[in-house]
Amino acid sequence: MLCEQCGKKQASVHVTKIQNGQKIERHLCKECAQQSSEFSTGIDFQNMLSSFFEYPQTWGQKARPKQGCPVCGSTLTDIQNRSQLGCSQCYTTFDSEVNTLLRRIHGTTEHVGKIPESSHGRIRLERQVQDLREQLQQAIAEEQYEKAAELRDQIRSLEGQLDGKEG
């Protein structure tokens, strides 16, 4: 791959930036990258993050909550300056701001992956039951009755466990 700037040397620096919500990719040689100040190492990622935090118009000065997080004391300005949230409670304190942010970064606000067993066993079981129910519908639709019967048994046994588990 040749450098985009000079077109002569091999491109050895590759950076993806998000600028005003647009993804920009650049491939430069070492020399051209050093001349272009935006490529000083480590800064880009920070800029990209800050831009995520700055973007939402709904964070206008009027709408912005003045109060900080009751646990860590961080205000929205602190969070923006650090490009980090202060504690797990911040996620609740700044609920709607966080959701705007998550949608911008991930395109969604909903986690569907792993759930910790020891503290959230119930949610984990519920999720498993939900998955199995979907598989059961599928099996019935495909007329795989033997498989459907197995799935039904599994669901029953998990529901039994759910009843035995509180909150």
Partner: protein, 357 residues
């Protein structure tokens, strides 16, 4: 004993072993970000809070005893060179080596697993395996995660998943990546096309040492961009599928380069690289990496047989500044490092040449 042997023994197992698709995939990494629900994230914690997390982490080797032999290290008690060596081995972040107070690292004896304590998040669990082993690496990381979860109440939310300091990691907290050696695609000028396509599939390409770092020696890291909205297995499978496509492109490019009408030109590059590495007296990291990449391509294409295939991975870690300075047991100016780097590489590639000189 040669100068390289002392630290060769200290290398992580992933650099010494060849894994599946090891001719192209140098290594696989899965990293999980986890936090305590009781303490603010490290960036907003008091010294006392950071210390309490660090103290808790001291007991983790015991908690993890079914997963192997782990040792806890306080970063502030570690020598600066040793910290930099951990960065060069990809076991901790550069940031973790620079800011050491109330920070720790837990390493498994083979260094396949490392846990950073009080980096950006309270815990960063990392599994690093040779070759393409995404499923295995995820399973291992998840098992370590299960062990720690029972002792360390995680910040977890039903809707948003694992909560992290930076919202780019929230959800699964998982960053899975593969380290790829793509010399043939680079040579046929197809890298840009291939790596450009990758970003349309929700993946990110970086150089050898992370964001904005340079891609020495045609080595690239490929990882998932988002951490929320997909199951870990799904993300792993997706990354694996794209990686296999790239492997296939690289294999085709290698095939193309070994056809009779092109073979001689490639062979020439490979042997020139071998010649320079065998006799040079001064080598920069950048030059050494490019030449080592050429030599490794020569091994993969069957021109060079007498060298160990893992020499690229070993040397790419051993020739870095901290490793070189560790050999000499002192800080060295860049010129001295370039001399030492050249003699280390000479010894590995061409021991006879070293003796005669």
């Amino acid at each position: 004993m040669g100068i390289g042997d002392a630290i060769r023994r200290a290398l992580s197992s992933w650099t010494k072993k060849e894994g599946p698709h090891g001719d192209i995939v140098l290594g696989t990494r899965v990293r999980l970000a986890r936090n305590s629900k009781d303490v603010p994230f490290p960036g907003a914690s008091s010294k006392e809070q950071l210390q309490s997390v660090l103290d808790q982490a001291r007991s983790f080797p015991d908690v993890l005893k079914d997963e192997g032999s782990f040792v806890f290290y306080d970063m502030a008690e570690m020598d600066a060179l040793d910290r930099d060596m951990l960065v060069e081995k990809h076991l901790i972040s550069p940031n973790h080596a620079r800011h050491t107070f109330h920070r720790g690292v837990i390493l498994r004896s083979d260094e396949d697993i490392s846990i950073m304590v009080n980096e950006e998040d309270h815990l960063r669990i990392q599994v690093l395996f040779p070759g393409l082993q995404l499923q295995q690496a995820w399973k291992h990381a998840s098992r370590v995660d299960d062990c720690l979860e029972s002792k360390f109440g995680y910040a977890f939310d039903k809707e948003r998943g694992y909560l992290t300091a930076c919202p780019t990691n929230v959800g699964t907290g998982m960053r899975a990546s593969v380290m790829l050696h793509l010399p043939a695609l680079a040579r046929v000028n197809r890298l840009r096309e291939v790596l450009g396509t990758v970003s349309q599939f929700g993946l990110v390409v970086r150089g050898l040492y992370g964001e904005g770092s340079e891609s020495y020696g045609n080595i690239y890291q490929l990882s998932n961009q988002v951490t929320l909205g997909h199951r870990e297995e799904e993300m792993i499978e997706h990354l694996e599928r794209v990686t296999k496509q790239i492997i296939q492109s690289e294999r085709q490019a290698r095939e193309y380069l070994s056809q009779p009408e092109r073979r001689l030109a490639v062979e020439d590059t490979v042997y020139r690289a071998f010649g320079v590495l065998s006799f040079a007296r001064i080598l920069s990291t950048e030059e050494a990496m490019q030449l080592l990449s050429d030599v490794r391509l020569g091994m993969d294409l069957g021109f060079i047989h007498h060298l160990d295939k893992e020499i690229l991975k070993e040397l790419m870690v051993m020739i870095r500044a901290a490793h070189l300075q560790k050999i000499m047991g002192q800080n060295l100016p860049p010129e001295e490092r370039d001399k030492l780097r050249a003699s280390l590489v000479r010894e590995k590639l061409n021991p006879q040449a070293l003796k005669k000189s």
